[in-house]
Symmetry: C2
Subunit: 215 residues, 2 copies
């Protein structure tokens, strides 16, 4: 498969394709037409074809797409054909909630440890894994080959912790703190702002109401 630059918009859509294809695979579906996938995913068949063309256009006229092949190819592009070890920093409600997401494990993201500065939380367990004190973080990362750090911390703590992480081998930060972290390129960052999603919902409500007023 050629290493063509794929647009951010397409990349943004790949995880959802991956999820749907995974479910079809689990159901034993071997092939699917762009029309059927379109009806299932509520995405136009032409969008699907254009997106999949980025990967050499796997479909065959009259045959549709081979589900397992597509699932594997998209999985490779997303870097899901390998395991990632991650830690959670900040063992409050959100950290614990993420620690309990079993479907991350299904995707090859394995939780190895949690950390917190609060002595009351140190020693507590999340899914059989003990919460450790912050002082042990760097050593743990080194000894357990951790590549992703999930930050579920207040924003004032996130910045100094991110600075400490810069001195480690981690390759990526999944950041839920209310601040956009900017790191050197060797540490990829995904800043998650849950309120952005809520604001999009608010926009949808507003727009629907305006449409109703006009009719």
């Amino acid at each position: 498969m050629e290493e063509k630059e794929i647009s951010q918009a397409v990349i943004g859509r790949l995880p959802r394709y991956f999820r749907y294809l995974g479910e079809l695979k689990d159901e034993g579906v071997e092939r699917i037409s762009s029309q059927d996938l379109s009806a299932l995913m509520k995405v136009t068949a032409s969008q699907i074809r254009q997106d999949f063309n980025n990967f050499g256009g796997f479909g065959q006229q009259g045959y549709g797409y081979n589900v397992e092949y597509l699932y594997n190819e998209i999985g490779k592009i997303l870097g899901l054909d390998r395991q990632h070890n991650y830690i959670i920093i900040g063992a409050g409600n959100l950290g614990r909630a993420l620690g309990n997401y079993l479907n991350f494990e299904k995707r090859g993201f394995i939780l190895r440890g949690l950390f917190d500065q609060n002595p009351a939380l140190v020693g507590s367990m999340v899914r059989g894994i003990e919460v450790m004190p912050m002082e042990e973080m760097e050593r743990f990362i080194r000894e357990n080959d951790i590549d992703i750090a999930v930050l579920t911390l207040p924003k004032t703590s996130a910045v100094p912790v991110a600075e400490r992480l810069m001195g480690t081998q981690i390759r990526a930060i999944w950041n839920f703190a209310h601040v956009d972290l900017v790191m050197p390129e060797r540490i990829q960052v995904e800043n998650v702002h849950l309120s952005d999603s809520l604001m999009k919902l608010s926009y949808s409500i507003s727009r629907y109401e305006k449409e109703q007023e006009k009719s």
Copy 2:
């Protein structure tokens, strides 16, 4: 402001503009050039100008953008110039984590109640609000003018709960269950798949590594 159809891509970017403009406003900044906003947000000045042109292009040559005005206009588009009452259904770790997000309140999203089917969780408190049993949900929605339901439930429970919600006055569902809910248009839905964000991070790690291998 004219009611022009704004693309989904631009809508997707509005919450982040809103956040940054809010912070500038809190810091007392009255105006900002597209260059400075660009440097701050790591978005091109031309993207900013194109996006803001959707709202009548508020900037003035040499003056830049009026922060408060832009903040208010984007807030109106996002439907944030009014209050929304919400409930959380599913009072496990994720539900409790969301219940503790004070910045939703800041945006006018007010938590009014939580619900769970587990008798062990009923009666527990989240930020001073009591978790109620599922039987009370419809009556509570009616009596408290609830317009948004946040679903933080396993996927098998999400579908029957969504069906119950269809019979209520709610206008929107913010869904964290691992299933894409499809509802009649009068109930807007935002399906959140946190694993999608993690998969994008995995893609970024993978792509960075491939770039490093080439050099």
